[in-house]
């Protein structure tokens, strides 16, 4: 499961991410504490070196080779930029997986966030049973990433599935959506949107922070509910929207389980669910082209990094931090 993390944007005043920021620069390290620091840090340091840094370097090296798991590491052949060249110019299925992943993220993420915000607004104004509703809406976010739920989803949108019996109520003849190349990815989008609970909870926390006086002032000025939403709620909520947008987008790019289950690990029907990570898995572990898969992984990493930077640099223009918290 993709886990995503970041400091909580709804909490004000705890902005610094440096450890112990207020004590910085107070000079000397107490005797023995430096050693103790490294003793406590050692598991993490070993993990950083062995589980993260070394594999990254190995992967960078392998991306310039034709390594498959069968030949020993000492005998791999250096192929220069051939893997990258193949990716960009000679591999239609790579481009296809990029398109699939982008369209998944570009459609599912905004809809999921819109659903999350809409339900959060409904709940925010309600006065009773909020805790219960909030819990129920959050449940899919806990279950939705599992293989079990993906299996349910595939069957629900199959020929005899629940979705078609729902359509039948209106006299609409359904079809096996998951076997239709034009619709398979859409069913996965619906699964993603169904898990709107996690961003919703974060929106709810953000809504609680909006000062009531702002609504009163807007109301005195004659603003209706729609104007209040556009001129008060949205700007005040923009840090939370930004936070959810970044996390959900990065999550969206990494969708794997549901696509794997729907297509039985092939990315089908007709490559319509060939998400980037699934393509990476097939290349590395089915076709055993681990050199090429490493190149794909590095391009993925760089793409995510670029997207994150783009988010943060455009965020300055629309994310509003109140009470002088602009940084």
């Amino acid at each position: 499961m993709a886990l995503t993390t970041a400091p909580d944007p709804t909490r004000r005043g705890t902005g610094s991410v440096r450890p112990d920021a207020n004590r910085r620069g107070t000079g000397r390290i107490r005797h023995g504490e430096g050693l103790a620091g490294y003793v406590f840090l050692s598991p993490w340091l070993i993990g950083l070196m062995g589980i993260t840094a070394l594999p990254m370097l190995l992967s960078l090296y392998l991306s310039f080779t034709d390594y498959d798991i069968l030949t020993p590491l000492s005998e791999v052949e250096w192929v220069g930029l051939a893997n990258y060249e193949r990716m960009f110019t000679g591999d239609p299925s790579w481009w296809h997986s990029v398109r699939v992943t982008l369209s998944f993220a570009l459609i599912a993420v905004p809809l999921k966030l819109a659903a999350a915000l809409g339900v959060a607004l409904l709940l925010n104004r309600a006065w009773r049973g909020v805790g219960l509703f909030r819990g129920l809406f959050y449940l899919p976010s806990l279950l939705g990433g599992s293989v079990a739920l993906a299996i349910v989803w595939v069957n629900m949108f199959n020929r005899e599935g629940a979705f078609n019996s729902f359509l039948a109520l209106f006299g609409i003849q359904g079809k096996p959506w998951v076997n239709d190349p034009d619709w398979a990815l859409e069913t996965l989008m619906v699964l993603a949107i169904w898990q709107f609970g996690a961003p919703m909870v974060i929106f709810l926390a953000g809504l609680k922070q909006v000062p009531t006086e702002l609504y009163e002032a807007a109301s005195v000025d004659g603003a209706g509910r729609f104007r209040q939403f556009v001129n008060v709620t949205l700007p005040m909520l923009s840090p939370v929207i930004f936070f959810n947008l970044v996390l959900e987008t990065i999550n969206g790019f990494q969708g794997f389980t549901a696509a794997f289950v729907l297509s039985n690990g092939t990315g089908g029907p007709v490559d319509s669910t060939l998400m980037y990570t699934l393509n990476l898995y097939i290349t590395g572990f089915t076709d055993l082209e681990m050199g090429y898969a490493s190149a794909m992984a590095w391009v993925f990493l760089i793409a995510i990094a670029i997207i994150t930077v783009v988010f943060f640099s455009t965020g300055r223009f629309w994310v509003h931090y109140s009470d002088g918290e602009d940084r």
């Binding site: 070993i46 909030r134 961003p199 609504y215």
Partner: protein, 294 residues
């Protein structure tokens, strides 16, 4: 939850007409129905006979067929009891690994002063957004070179990273938590002669229990649901965890396995659902205070 605590903008305004509130409730209930329908449908299908799975479009079975559970349990050469035990083993050891290793690292970051701390902390924050999929190929190669893939201890490739605090999120969560523990307690312990280890043992460890519980719950749920790493690193049927075993049902595409497949899917979600019921408030607060996703 009580009325006043959750209705900020509406609370001080004049009461809106009753009909609006009713409308809102109806809409909310409709959303609940959409959200819960797949779960009820899953449970209903798990007790339908083969014939009904095709013909009966309703939620409830006409012919209650609990036999699906027995059929699913023994559908493969290895019984699901084994898969559940494997999943429990991996998940529980992951909980231990994350709790211990992340707590140690967090204590160093939050309380101790040592050379390059700022740099390491920045690196740790940097790994927060690193997608796990990027590292899977080289990690597989490394663990395989070490003879740990499909070896005598097939779960080592899944567990070793968890014992080395690679789940940066939990480190971050605990650092944030420890910063809230008053430093005066450290000072008092120091005056009593405690060194860094004593302070960890007698001050930080006992006071970090809430952060440890949050870490344990999320570690368990995420590992229990995890599929990608388990798919890559487990190769023997008898080593399979529940998610990997569930995909075997898809391989055996025969229609006859749908009921048993749903039965096992239901069982596989029970532990997560149990955690949800027991710790609902905590889970929701958890994603609130730390911005974490399920």
């Amino acid at each position: 939850m009580v009325a006043g605590t959750v209705a900020p903008p509406g609370a001080t305004r004049p009461q809106r007409p009753r009909s609006r509130s009713w409308l809102r409730l109806v809409v909310l209930l409709a959303i609940v129905a959409v959200v819960l329908y797949p779960l009820f449908w899953m449970i209903g299908t798990s007790v339908k006979s083969q014939e009904e799975i095709v013909n009966n479009i309703g939620l409830l079975p006409r012919d209650f067929t609990p036999g699906n559970y027995l059929d699913g349990w023994t559908n493969f050469d290895v019984s699901f009891a084994r898969f559940f035990l494997n999943s429990a083993l991996v998940s529980l050891l992951t909980v231990v690994g994350n709790a211990v290793s992340c707590l140690l690292a967090a204590y160093a970051f939050a309380r101790l002063r040592f050379r390059l701390r700022g740099l390491w902390f920045a690196v740790m924050i940097g790994t927060l957004l690193l997608p796990g999929h990027v590292l899977i190929v080289p990690q597989y190669i490394l663990f395989r070179t070490l003879g740990l893939v499909g070896g005598e201890w097939p779960y080592l490739p899944l567990l070793i990273p968890q014992f080395l605090a690679t789940e940066a999120f939990f480190v971050f969560l605990m650092v944030q938590f420890m910063r809230g523990i008053p430093r005066e307690l450290d000072e008092a312990a120091r005056i009593d002669g405690a060194n860094a280890f004593g302070i960890f043992r007698h001050v930080i460890l006992p006071l970090s229990r809430p952060a440890l519980v949050t870490t344990a719950i999320f570690s368990f749920i995420w590992t229990w649901n995890d599929f990608f790493r388990q798919l890559v690193f487990l190769s023997d049927l008898s080593d399979y965890t529940v998610p990997v075993a569930l995909t075997l049902f898809i391989d055996s595409t025969s229609q006859s396995a749908v009921g048993p497949m749903f039965a096992m899917a239901v069982l596989s979600l029970l532990p997560v659902f149990g955690f949800f019921v027991a710790f609902q408030r905590m889970l929701v607060e958890g994603i609130n205070t730390s911005g974490l996703k399920g």
